[in-house]
C-alpha cells in the first residue's frame, strides 16, 4: 500500500514536470518566444565568434607591422649596399620592393581581414558589437564581409550557425512583421485617416438603410414577399435582422466611441443612441417577428437617413415617413441633444464588439512609409559616418534588401576621420537593420493581397492566365 502511494506520488511529479516542460516549449515557440530566441541566438553567436576570431585579428595586425619592418630593413640594405647613389638604380630597386610591400598589404586587407588599425589600437573589429553585427548579417543573409571569419573553426561554425539561424530569424521577422502590420493598420484606420472613419460610418448607415428598404419595400412583390417571410418562420427574417442588428450596433459603437468629438453626423448618432434607450416601441409593418428594440432602431435609422440624404427615389419613401411619424412621433428626440447616455458617461465600448476591418491599407501609404524609413536611416548614417547622402541611401537600400555588399559599413574603421566611437555606431546599425527588415516584412504583409490581385488582373487582361481560373 505504501509503495502504491509512492508510485502515485512519483507519477504525479512526473506529470507535473512534463506539464511544465510543455508550457515552456509552448511559450518558447510562441510569437514572443521566437523573437527572444532569435535575439539570444544572435548574442550567443556574437560571444562565440568574438572568442574565436579576436586572436587572428591581433595576429594579423602584428603581421602587417612585421611586413613593414621587413620592407624598411630591405630598403636600408639597398641604400647601404650602393656605395655611390645612382638615382635610377636606387629608384628601381626601391620601387620594386615597395611594390612587394603593396601586394602584402593588399592581400592582408582583402584576404586576411586587416582593417588598417595599428597594433596598439584598443578597438577591435571582433569586439562584442562587431561580432553581434556579424552574427546578424549571417542569420539575416545580408553578409557584409568586411568582418568575416578567417579561422577554420570560425568558418565551420558559421556554416552551422547559419543553417539553424536563418530559419529562426526568418520566423522571428515574420512574427515581428505581422505585429507591426497590425499596429500599422490600427493606427492608419483609426488615427491617421479621418476620411476613412467618416466614410466608413456613412457607408454603413446607407447600407443598413438600403437593406432594410429592400426587405420591407422591394417594389412590386412587397406584399407577397412579406407574407412569404412571415410564413416561413423566424429563421430568415431574424437572420437578416441580426445582420442589420450587427450593422446598426456597429453604428452605435462607432458613434459611442467618438462621443466626445465631432457632431457632424450628430443627428444620426443621436437617434441611434437614444433609440438604444427606447426599450419599447410600437413598430409598424415589421417583418421581423422578434419585436425588440432593434426594429425601432432600424426604422429610426431609415427615417433619419431619408431625412438626411434624400437620395432615395423609391416612391414608398413618403409612406415610410408618414407611417413612422404616426407610430413613433413621440420617440423622436430633439435634433442636437447629447450623444451620451442618460447618466452622462460615454457608453461602454466593451458591450458591442467591433467587427474586423476588411479594408486594406493602400499601397502608396506603405511605400511612403518604407521610403521614409530609408531616408531617416540615410540621414542618420550620413551624419554619423560622414558619408555623402547618396552613399547613405545606397547603404540603407542594400542592407534592407539583404544584398549587403560590405564596402560601406557603419562602425568600420575610417582612415580619414579615425573616429573612435565605433562601438556605439555598430549597435545603432544592428538596431536599424533588425527594425528595417521587420518593416520590410510588415509591408509585404500589408500589400501582398493588393499586389496579387493587381497581378492577376493584369495577367487576365493580357490573357496570359486562362479566364476561368478563380483567384
Amino acid at each position: 500500500m505504501l509503495q502504491d502511494l509512492e508510485n502515485h506520488e512519483e507519477a504525479a511529479r512526473k506529470t507535473r514536470w512534463k506539464h511544465c516542460l510543455r508550457l515552456v516549449a509552448a511559450y518558447l515557440f510562441s510569437d514572443v518566444g521566437v523573437c527572444g530566441l532569435a535575439v539570444s541566438y544572435a548574442m550567443l553567436g556574437a560571444l562565440v565568434f568574438e572568442a574565436l576570431e579576436t586572436r587572428h585579428e591581433l595576429a594579423e595586425r602584428e603581421h602587417v607591422r612585421q611586413h613593414r619592418a621587413d620592407c624598411m630593413r630591405d630598403l636600408w640594405r639597398i641604400t647601404n649596399k650602393l656605395n655611390v647613389l645612382y638615382e635610377a638604380n636606387w629608384t628601381l630597386a626601391v620601387g620594386g620592393r615597395l611594390r612587394e610591400f603593396e601586394q602584402t598589404v593588399v592581400n592582408a586587407v582583402r584576404n586576411e581581414g586587416y582593417d588598417g588599425r595599428e597594433v596598439e589600437a584598443l578597438e577591435l573589429q571582433w569586439s562584442f558589437p562587431g561580432a553581434l553585427l556579424y552574427s546578424l548579417t549571417v542569420i539575416t543573409t545580408i553578409g557584409y564581409g568586411n568582418t568575416a571569419p578567417k579561422t577554420s573553426l570560425g568558418k565551420v561554425l558559421t556554416v552551422l550557425y547559419a543553417t539553424v539561424g536563418i530559419p529562426l530569424m526568418f520566423l522571428c521577422l515574420l512574427n515581428a512583421g505581422h505585429l507591426f502590420a497590425r499596429i500599422f493598420k490600427f493606427s492608419y484606420f483609426h488615427v491617421l485617416c479621418v476620411q476613412c472613419r467618416q466614410r466608413a460610418r456613412i457607408s454603413k448607415v446607407r447600407e443598413a438603410v438600403r437593406v432594410m428598404l429592400y426587405k420591407h419595400f422591394p417594389g412590386n412583390s412587397s406584399t407577397t414577399r412579406n407574407q412569404q417571410q412571415t410564413t416561413d418562420g423566424n429563421l430568415e427574417p431574424s437572420a437578416t435582422s441580426q445582420q442589420l442588428n450587427g450593422q446598426v450596433e456597429q453604428q452605435a459603437t462607432d458613434s459611442d466611441r467618438l462621443c466626445t468629438d465631432n457632431e457632424e453626423l450628430g443627428v444620426t448618432d443621436n437617434l441611434i443612441t437614444s433609440a438604444s434607450e427606447n426599450e419599447r416601441s410600437t413598430a409598424a409593418q415589421s417583418v421581423v417577428s422578434s419585436r425588440d428594440s432593434d426594429s425601432s432602431r432600424h426604422e429610426l435609422v431609415e427615417a433619419n437617413d431619408v431625412v438626411l440624404e434624400e437620395s432615395l427615389t423609391d416612391s414608398s419613401d413618403i409612406s415610410i415617413e408618414s407611417r413612422l411619424h404616426n407610430t413613433n412621433s413621440s420617440s423622436f428626440p430633439p435634433p442636437f441633444s447629447d450623444h451620451t447616455n442618460l447618466d452622462g458617461t460615454c457608453p461602454n465600448k466593451e458591450d458591442n464588439p467591433r467587427p474586423k476591418e476588411e479594408e486594406r491599407v493602400p499601397v502608396y501609404v506603405v511605400m511612403l512609409f518604407i521610403t521614409g524609413y530609408i531616408f531617416v536611416g540615410a540621414i542618420m548614417f550620413s551624419v554619423g559616418e560622414n558619408w555623402n547622402f547618396i552613399d547613405a541611401v545606397y547603404f540603407c537600400l542594400t542592407a534592407l534588401s539583404t544584398v549587403g555588399f560590405g564596402n560601406l559599413v557603419p562602425g568600420s574603421y575610417d582612415f580619414n576621420t579615425q573616429s573612435q566611437s565605433a562601438q556605439t555606431r555598430l549597435i545603432i546599425c544592428c538596431f536599424y537593420l533588425i527594425f528595417g527588415l521587420a518593416v520590410v516584412l510588415m509591408s509585404y504583409n500589408l500589400i501582398q493581397e493588393e499586389i496579387m490581385l493587381k497581378f492577376k488582373r493584369i495577367s487576365r487582361n493580357l490573357k496570359i492566365m486562362p479566364q476561368n481560373e478563380k483567384s
Partner: protein, 384 residues
Amino acid sequence: MALERKRSTRRSGSRYAGKKRRPVNKCKTCCRKFTAFMFSHVGLCGLVVGYSIMGAFAFRALEAPYEEVKAGEVTDMRQKTVRRLWDITYDLNVLYKDNWTRLVAAEIKRFQSDLIAAVKDGYDGKELGAVQQWSFSGAFLYSLTVITTIGYGNIAPRTNWGKLVTIVYAIVGIPLMLLYLTNIGDILAKSFRYVYGRMCTCKPSDHYKRGRNNENYRVQHVVAHNSPTRQNALDPGVQDKVHVNPEDEVRIEAIPNELPEDLDYQKPRVSVPITLCLVIMVSYISGGAVIFSLWEGWDFLDGSYFCFVTLSTIGFGDLVPGDSVVSDRGSQEKLVICSLYLLIGMALIAMCFNLMQEEVIHKVRNCGRRVGIIKDTDDEDDIA
C-alpha cells in the same frame, strides 16, 4: 458515370466566331501571346539572363573607367613615395641609420594608410593594363549578385551613378529573380516528383504503406455511387477530409483516358522524402567545393564554405573565384563558371524547398502535437 464535361465543345465554338479579324486584332493577339510566352517558364529564364547581361553592360560602362583611374592613382602614389624616399636619402649627406629609418618609417606608414584606403575604395592590387575587375564577366557576376541578393562586395560600385543604377536595378531585378526562382522551382519539383514517382512504382509496398497513413493520403476524386440523393462527383482537387454519408459507396477512381487534357487533373501527389532533398543539396555544395578548391588552390573547407555562403545568399565576398591578388590567367572563365553555378544552384535550392515544404510542415505539426504545443482539434473528424 457522373462525369460530363462540355468544355471542349465550348472552346471550339469560340474559335469559329472571329474568323475575319482585323490586322490590329491580330497584332494585339500576337503581343499578348508574346508576353504570355515571356512570362512562361522558358521566357522567364531568358529574361533573367538577358537582364543580367544588360546590367553587365551598364555597370561595365559606368565603373570600368573609375577602376582604371584608381589603379593609376595607386601607381602614382607609389612613385611619389619612392621619390620622397629618394629625397630623404639624398638630403642626408651622412647616412645615419636611426635618422634615416625614422624618416623613412613615417613615409612608409603614410603609404600604407593611403594604400588601404585605396583598397577599400576598390583597388585590387592588379597592375594597370592587366585584367580588370570590371571586365564583362566580372560585371555579369556583379549583376547576378545584386539580383539574387547575394552581394559579394569584392566588386562594388564606386561612382555615384553606379550606386544609383544599382539601386534601381535591384528594385526591378529582385522581384524578377524571385519570380524566376518560384517558377523554376515549381517545374523542377514537378518533374522530379514525376521521375521519383515513376521510380517508386517499381516498389508497390511503399504505395500501400502510404495509403494507410491517413494524413498523407489525398483523395483526388471521390465519386459517390448508389445513393439516391447524391449522384454527383465532388470537385477534383487536393482535399484533406471528405465527409460522405455512411450509406454511400465511396470509390476512388483512376483517371480515365478519354477525358480531354485541359481539365488539369492531378495525379496522386508523390511526397519525396526530406533526406533525399538534403542529400541533393549537400552533394551540390560538395561538388562545387571540389571544383572551386581545385581551381583556386583553396582547401576543401574553404571551398565548401564559399559554396554554402553563396547559395544561402549570405555572400561575404572574402572568397570569390577568379578574384585573387595576383592577376591570374583564366579568371574570366572562372567568373562565368561561378555565375552558372550560382544560377543552377539557386534553382536547385528552390526545387528542394518546394519538395520539402509540405513534409516539413507536416512533421513540425506532428512534433508539435506530440509535445502538446498544438492542440489536435482535427483528429476527431478524420476518416477512419
